[in-house]
């Protein structure tokens, strides 16, 4: 048996499994379609249940020998010789050839050469193009050459060719010739002995449920978007502001906004109750009134403290699922029946935040179709030997669940390739 493993997706689970496999001596290619690693967790700001900064949360090679926190910048690149990270890279096809897999990868250009860039960021300073930063809800501007997440790995900037004018100022200012505006897509094929799917989940767009006025009213956000607002590196430095820039005084959260719903996603997304509570507590710390409309609060025991803290900090809980959100004088108003008081409430608030269901990334669907169930999640044990899955690619899960699963998959892969002793 060979020893090459391809891990698809560099979220927390993918990073975890890659590290462990490399640590055990296997050759690992970690493939990530975005420009930086971290997956959904990198957008969630603090993460539950410990309120860590998600970017510090990467497990590392020394996971088992003492300390447990190291940030992503160091752990991944350079330290592990057996681990290659391929960002901006997608899997185009997987072919089964005997015991091996032939995996075809396509890398879209970053236009900044990773092996040369020293991250002086002069290029960003000279860039004249300013466009709304989509990652930060379009509320702030970024340059055509930019870093999607300032601490994201790799640290080098990326050029957005859709807005770049090719004025070449960045090329001129770069002292190490790290910018190549003519970079082309690259494809390559890697022979692997095992493939681990850690493709993860993303928030689905709430536009399937038009009743919640998402896209119609700028103050109706998803939890991920709220996460950006509450992130100190986000568009308002962690302050909750409305689209018009006003300090938010009240927030209404709608849980299961599309989960457990035959019109959208029939399963339970599992993690949203807890991160909604986390955001609620963070908002309460800013003095914001928070109302949470829910059906069942599904908080696992290890996150139970969030529910208690939310109750103690006077978050209002309304047990009922809102049918719709109307916009009155520019502000969203949530219409809900409180089944406990048996009263219909019209909750006026500055923001409405939807806990949109977590769904598998659409991009991978086609390539991996034969390994996926009807929702697009990977089966934990695939019929095809040599294909493994972990983290949220097997079903919506929270971080502790993903990490535990990644741990166990690493050992499984190792044992399959290296046998017993």
């Amino acid at each position: 048996m060979g020893d090459t493993v391809i891990v698809v997706g560099a979220g927390l689970a993918g990073i975890q499994v890659s590290h462990q496999l490399a640590d055990l001596g296997l050759r690992v290619h970690l493939v990530e379609k975005e420009a930086t690693v971290g997956g959904l967790s990198a957008h969630l700001g603090k993460v539950f249940p410990t309120d860590d900064c998600a970017l510090c949360l990467d497990a590392c090679e020394e996971l088992f020998s003492g300390h447990h926190r190291r940030c992503q910048y160091r752990s991944l690149l350079g330290t592990q010789k057996k681990l290659s990270l391929h960002t901006l890279t997608e899997v185009r096809s997987i072919k089964h050839e005997g015991d091996k897999f032939s995996v075809s990868l396509k890398t879209t250009p970053r236009y900044v050469l990773l092996d040369r860039c020293v991250v002086c960021l002069e290029c960003i300073n000279v860039c004249d193009v300013e466009v709304p930063d989509e990652l930060n809800l379009g509320r702030v501007l970024r340059r055509a050459v930019y870093r999607p997440i300032p601490q994201g790995v790799p640290l080098a900037p990326i050029i957005d060719m859709n807005s770049c004018t090719k004025c070449s100022k960045c090329v001129d200012v770069c002292k190490v010739d790290a910018i190549d505006l003519e970079q082309k897509c690259k494809t390559r094929t890697i022979k692997a002995d095992a493939v681990v799917l850690a493709t993860g989940v993303e928030e689905s767009s709430p536009s399937v449920l038009p009743g919640y006025a998402y896209g119609h009213c700028e103050d109706v956000l998803t939890q991920r978007e709220l996460g950006r607002l509450l992130d100190s590196a986000g568009p308002s430095n962690g302050k909750a502001l409305t689209a018009s820039g006003r300090q938010v005084g009240s927030v209404t959260m709608i849980l299961c906004a599309g989960s457990r719903d035959l019109n959208a996603v029939e399963y339970c997304s599992r993690a949203c109750c807890t991160y909604s509570l986390k955001h609620a507590i963070m908002l309460r710390e800013q003095g914001v009134d928070v109302t949470i409309c829910y059906m069942d609060l599904r908080v696992p025991t290890h996150s139970q403290s969030f529910l208690e803290r939310a109750r103690e900090s006077d978050v209002t809980f309304v047990r009922g699922k809102p049918d719709h959100v109307v916009v009155r004088e520019g502000s969203p108003v949530t219409i809900v029946e409180d089944t406990e008081s048996q009263k219909r409430l019209e909750i006026e608030s500055d923001l409405v935040v939807l806990a949109s269901p977590l769904v598998p990334h659409a991009a991978e669907r086609e390539v991996f179709n034969s390994f996926l169930d009807k929702y697009g999640f990977a089966a934990r044990h695939n019929a095809l030997k040599g294909i493994y899955a972990c983290g949220t690619s097997t079903g919506a899960n929270d971080i502790p669940g993903s990490v535990a699963e990644a741990n166990s998959v690493a050992l499984e892969v190792y044992m399959a390739l290296k046998g017993g002793a």
């Binding site: 457990r260 035959l262 059906m295 009922g320 809102p322 049918d323 809900v336 029946e337």
Partner: protein
């Protein structure tokens, strides 16, 4: 104080709970066997239907409560409720049910069961009577308007006999005859 000095029973201060014996176990199945009732049991009481309803606010029993009552078997209470007759039939509740329960359709089913047991507002029976007698709900009264617009004076194509014939033998016929 009672002036007559008659002995009265203990004052009625407790709200009597609904006793299990008052619950009709078959009610759920009865509804489920009616048109569009199959999904009834899928309800998990999220109350989306109630918040979707434009008029539930003035109801004593809310739409989601009616559905739960059907599931638990509170037949009498559901069928005698005035709420089922106050349903706008606008289908907003049904449209938004996350579990695919056909709420409005189920209320139609309830109304049919109520009608079968003569628990039906007089005004609805009156409408039935009109329909049965005239064969249509609306009668042309201003045929000059139609003529002005080059239209036939009578309702084109409408056969009043058909309605009379068909409905005479169904529940409408029985209700109208039996009256109340």
């Amino acid at each position: 104080m009672t002036e007559t000095g008659e002995k009265k029973g203990l004052p009625d201060v407790f709200i009597e709970p609904i006793n299990m014996s008052e619950l009709d176990r078959g009610f759920r199945k009865e509804i489920q066997s009616m048109p569009n009732g199959e999904e009834l049991s899928a309800c998990f009481a999220c109350s989306t239907c109630t918040s979707a309803c434009p008029v539930a606010n003035i109801w004593e029993i809310k739409p989601h409560q009616l559905i739960r009552m059907i599931i638990l078997g509170m037949r009498e209470k559901v069928l005698s409720s005035k709420e089922i007759w106050l349903c706008l039939t606008c289908f907003e509740c049904q449209e938004r049910c996350p579990q695919g329960v056909r709420v409005t359709d189920i209320f139609f089913d309830c109304k049919n069961l109520a009608a079968e047991e003569n628990m039906i507002p007089d005004s609805i029976v009156a409408l039935g009577k009109e329909l049965l007698e005239k064969g249509q709900l609306y009668i042309v009264t201003a045929d000059w308007e139609r003529e002005d617009l080059d239209l036939e004076p009578d309702v084109p194509g409408l056969s009043t006999d058909a309605v009379k014939r068909v409905l005479g033998g169904t529940r409408t016929g029985r209700l109208v005859k039996g009256g109340k």
